[in-house]
Amino acid sequence: MQGVGVGSAATGLLVGPESAEAQSNSQGNVAAFGPAAVPITLQVNGRPLKTSIEPRETLLDTLRNKFDLTGAKRVCDRGTCGACTVLIDGKVQYSCTVFAIDAQNKQIATIESLTANGKMHPIVPAFVNNDAQQCGYCTPGFVMAAKGFLDRNPNPTYDQVKDGLGGNLCRCGTYVGVRKAVLEAAKALRAANTLSGVTNA
């Protein structure tokens, strides 16, 4: 039993659908899921991943604890530092401040997607070439922020890079390398796209 109906006449309990993906019943009432754990399916890095979680579980904790996708880190846990950055439907977001149940039916891309299938996204070596990491704990968040930024700004200026990564913090002080890395990655991506004729949007 996952769903409890609520609505204009919602005093009785409705048996909810099998999965929180299904939304409403024919009475116009809308199902409520939880507070007990409910099954969910997340589209992560192009694959459907199923698990069961309480509605209060964040996307970040679900990725880390249920799917062992530990690239995204939990640092501030309040939507400030960017270490948990993932792409949701192509846009950078703080996964510590998204409920997993709310991230269903969306395409979620984590840092692990950048080295999937034996390929490496050019942002990763650009970070290494420019030594844009020290302890490395904030780095996956920066890399994903850079990915989201470059997807939208394939030809950025130096100043745009600084604005584009304003939602991430580092404690070791790797910003000098990060700025250079993003510019180098942009160059590498443009070269790759010229060759293949595709855009990176």
């Binding site: 507070p35 309040r78 846009k91 977001q93 401040t97 922020a145 304003g166």
Partner: protein, 324 residues
């Protein structure tokens, strides 16, 4: 955080039907950038969350003959990308871009910005919105450098909304809806100083949600935010202005201060003082001076008077296109 039931509303009627009689029963989940933190800190613990991001009626920005209508679930990012916003409402655009985290702009919504709770650290520690303890304000004798210089009674926090001062300056209205009725509230009336530690600082009722924002056609408008950091940071003081010009002189003006009081502060006397005058360094400075005339600083925040004053000056000069 406490557990809750999750409702994914796809229509307005589903959403309003799922709301409750009080905040502990149900709350609206939009971008979540504030609400989820509040819940993690047990400052708010609703039993039910109603996701409204999938409701079509709450999306979209449309230009009308009267101005611009913005859906409550429109993200900051979408707002910043809108050509009309950029061209006609630079005051709005500046406030949106003042949120310098792309992640927050992608997540945060217009309605969420208006409904977010104060960042007052006493409130966040669970001392209530008025930060009262044993009948006394913690703010007065405590750490108040980020607090109000225009307090209202015991309300000494500052409204956290980025858009609030802009909407008040532009004369916007905010459309609210419950399962029973719809009402349109002037932005200036949407923000209220709470009378009790448990009250909200907005006019929204627990059974209502914000549907849209209606912006009238603007005059020359601008926002200036004083922020310490370029990276994501809360403004220390802001000013949003909207000028109706007749040639080089001001016919009507609106000057609204942000992050200096529990509600956006409408500096109407300062605005009036500009009528019939051109905008210059001198008149802008005088308006800034007038705007802070009634300030009542706390023990650590007199510096915010200076910040508000200069924000007004700079916003006026920017709106009028006068170089400082």
């Amino acid at each position: 955080m406490n557990n809750f039931a999750y409702v994914n509303a796809t229509t307005l009627s589903q959403a309003t039907a799922a709301l409750g009689k009080n905040w502990s029963e149900a709350m609206v989940l939009a971008g979540g950038t504030d609400l989820i933190g509040l819940m993690k800190d047990y400052v708010m613990s609703p039993q039910r969350l109603v996701n409204i991001k999938g409701i079509k009626e709450l999306q979209g920005i449309s230009k009308t003959s009267k101005g611009l209508q913005i859906g409550a679930a429109v993200t900051f990012d979408a707002l910043a990308a809108n050509a009309t916003v950029r061209q006609m409402y630079p005051s709005l655009y500046e406030a949106v871009m003042g949120v310098t985290s792309p992640q927050i702009r992608n997540m945060g919504t217009v309605g969420g910005d208006l409904c977010q709770r104060p960042r007052c650290w006493y409130f966040r520690l669970g001392h209530g919105v008025l930060a009262m303890k044993d009948g006394k304000s913690l703010v007065d004798g405590g750490e108040n450098k980020y607090h109000a210089i225009f307090p209202k009674g015991n309300a000494k926090f500052v409204s956290a909304s980025s858009l609030g001062p802009v909407l008040v300056a532009l004369g916007a209205t905010i459309q609210l809806q419950s399962s029973a009725s719809t009402r349109e509230v002037p932005a200036a009336d949407f923000f209220v100083a709470p009378a009790s530690n448990e009250a909200r600082e907005i006019a929204l009722q627990p059974n209502e949600l914000v549907v849209s924002i209606n912006l009238p056609n603007p005059g020359k408008n601008a926002t200036y935010e004083v922020r310490q950091k370029d990276a994501l940071d809360w403004p220390l003081a802001t000013a949003s202005v909207n000028l109706t010009m007749k040639g080089n002189t001001v016919e009507a003006a609106k000057i609204v201060l942000g992050h200096v009081g529990p509600v956006p502060v409408d500096a109407s006397a300062a605005a009036k003082s500009l009528v019939g005058k051109p905008i210059s360094e001198a008149t802008a400075m005088a308006a800034g001076e007038a705007a802070v005339a009634g300030a009542q600083p706390l023990s650590q925040n007199a510096y915010k008077i200076q910040l508000a004053r200069v924000a007004v000056k700079r916003a006026l000069l920017a709106a009028a296109g006068v170089k400082a």
